[in-house]
């Protein structure tokens, strides 16, 4: 086909009808507090890794809930598991266990 100098771009919007939510299901099966997040952002604010990178636990949580898991491995690999986010969370979300299970899901892909 000829080169047009431009391409048809996929929509940037989150499509909750076509997105794959299996990761979200896997996490909530193993950590009920996964969906208790109210997106206050205190975790990201206190995050040790976030001092060095744009790592954002709040966003990671919501993105998974919306089935947007591209580049997740990259993001989650930045976490130091120090647990400050969990201490600070006003809703008692087990952030460490969530991240732990995201990593588990990613390291044995397909098994969740």
């Amino acid at each position: 086909m000829k080169d047009w100098g431009y391409k048809i771009i996929a929509a940037r919007q989150i499509d909750l009808d076509s997105n794959d939510l299996s990761m979200a299901d896997y996490i909530s099966r193993h950590e009920i507090s996964f969906k208790w997040c109210i997106g206050c952002g205190s975790c990201s604010a206190t995050c040790t890794a976030a001092q060095f990178t744009d790592f954002n636990p709040r966003k990671v949580n919501l993105l998974i809930q919306r089935g947007e898991t591209d580049g997740l491995k990259n993001e989650i690999s930045k976490c130091m598991m120090c647990g400050k986010c969990q201490i600070i969370c006003p809703k008692g979300v087990n952030t460490r266990n969530i991240i732990h299970h995201i990593k588990r899901a990613l390291s044995n892909v397909g098994s969740f």
Binding site: Q13, D17, I32, K35, R66, E68
Partner: protein
């Protein structure tokens, strides 16, 4: 020995009923005017009330008892069209031309739900599966099953918060206060009917200001698995199978979001009752920007209008929850009594 003073209460809803009841220990002659054919106002529509799911009828019966104690005479089908005040005498004209006079008037004309079809982009009365929170309450009370226009059990249900509230385009800058918790309450009720249903609430803020409201929200989220997405819905479109396509931004992710729903519920806000404005003008009462009756000197004198002898209570002056309305009604009657006590006879 002065003649018994007469109090006219306009509106036989919760505020009117509670206020009338609070005159039980006085010998004033109290008249309640209700434009509908039965008293009780919105309580005739609400199925269950937040935050504790008390049934509307139960509360209505309770208020009817209170009303009885007040020995007030109740006139239904009596819509007030005019108030003319002359010092201590206020004359009221009904639609059918009848007139009443009293030494004091208590306006309790309440609110009506925002007309959702004015929020055009949501397509209420255009898309078959867009309904309002009021429609849903009626559906609950009717005991009929929750079905889509095509008769199928809805699998995905959306709630849109702040419809007609905090919205310049709808002409209402104010917050209607009760919609947030109503949305949470109704989401739970739907889950109780349809445990399989997936429910999404789209909100700008969740204003869980009242006692037990936050707890209810947490219950919805943690026990019933209701999903809350922060973002105001921009538009709804209808798909060929008459399901609905919704567009919003997930503002916590900064990403536009699109999804289909079988049923969408618009959480409509409060606007002053139709005719209240006209009535107020006739009595040269002052109004808020939201066209509610303005009370004098907040935070004190929250029941006094700008006309001596005309008192205001309940949602005719600002959006209030039922609980707040009833408290306010009792406050109003107390104010009213002391007013009549101090009133100079002429």
């Amino acid at each position: 020995m002065s003649k018994t003073k007469r109090i006219i209460i306009i509106g036989g809803g919760p505020a009117g009923m509670e206020a009338a009841g609070a005159f039980n220990h006085t010998d004033y002659q109290v008249t309640v005017l209700e434009k509908e054919k039965q008293i009780g106002g919105k309580l005739n529509t609400w199925y269950k009330l937040f935050p504790n799911f008390k049934s509307g009828t139960e509360v209505k019966e309770y208020l009817e008892e209170t009303l009885k104690k007040g020995k007030a005479s109740v006139l239904t089908n009596s819509e007030v069209v005019n108030i003319s005040s002359d010092k201590n005498n206020h004359q009221i004209t009904l639609k059918d031309g009848k007139t009443l006079t009293g030494e004091a008037i208590l306006i309790a004309t309440g609110f009506q739900p925002f007309e959702a079809d004015r929020k055009e982009e949501y397509g209420y009365k255009i898309y078959d599966n867009v309904i309002t929170s009021v429609d849903l309450e009626r559906l609950f009370s009717s005991g009929k099953p929750i079905l889509t226009s095509t008769g199928k059990v809805p699998e995905r249900i959306g709630f849109i918060h702040c419809v007609g509230s905090r919205d310049k385009k709808s002409g209402n800058l104010y917050c209607s206060r009760v919609c947030c918790v109503t949305g949470v309450k109704q989401a739970i009720e739907i889950k109780q009917h349809l445990p399989e249903a997936k429910i999404f609430n789209f909100y700008m803020d969740l204003r869980m200001y009242g006692q037990d409201f936050e707890e209810l929200y947490i219950e919805a989220q943690q026990k019933w698995g209701v999903t809350f997405i922060r973002g105001r819905v921009s538009e709804i479109g209808q798909n060929i199978d008459s399901t609905l396509q919704l567009k919003a931004e997930d503002t916590l992710l900064g990403r536009p979001l699109k999804m289909n729903f079988d049923l969408i519920v618009l959480l409509v806000g409060m606007v002053p009752t139709a005719g209240a404005e006209k009535l107020g003008c006739s009595a040269s009462l002052e109004f808020t920007s939201g066209k509610f009756f303005r009370v004098m000197g907040k935070p004190v004198q929250t029941n006094e209008s700008n006309i001596p002898g005309i008192f205001l209570t309940g949602t005719c002056k600002e959006p209030l929850s039922l609980q707040e309305t009833l408290t306010d009604a009792r406050a109003a009657s107390a104010k009213l009594i002391s007013y009549l006590k101090e009133m100079k006879e002429d």
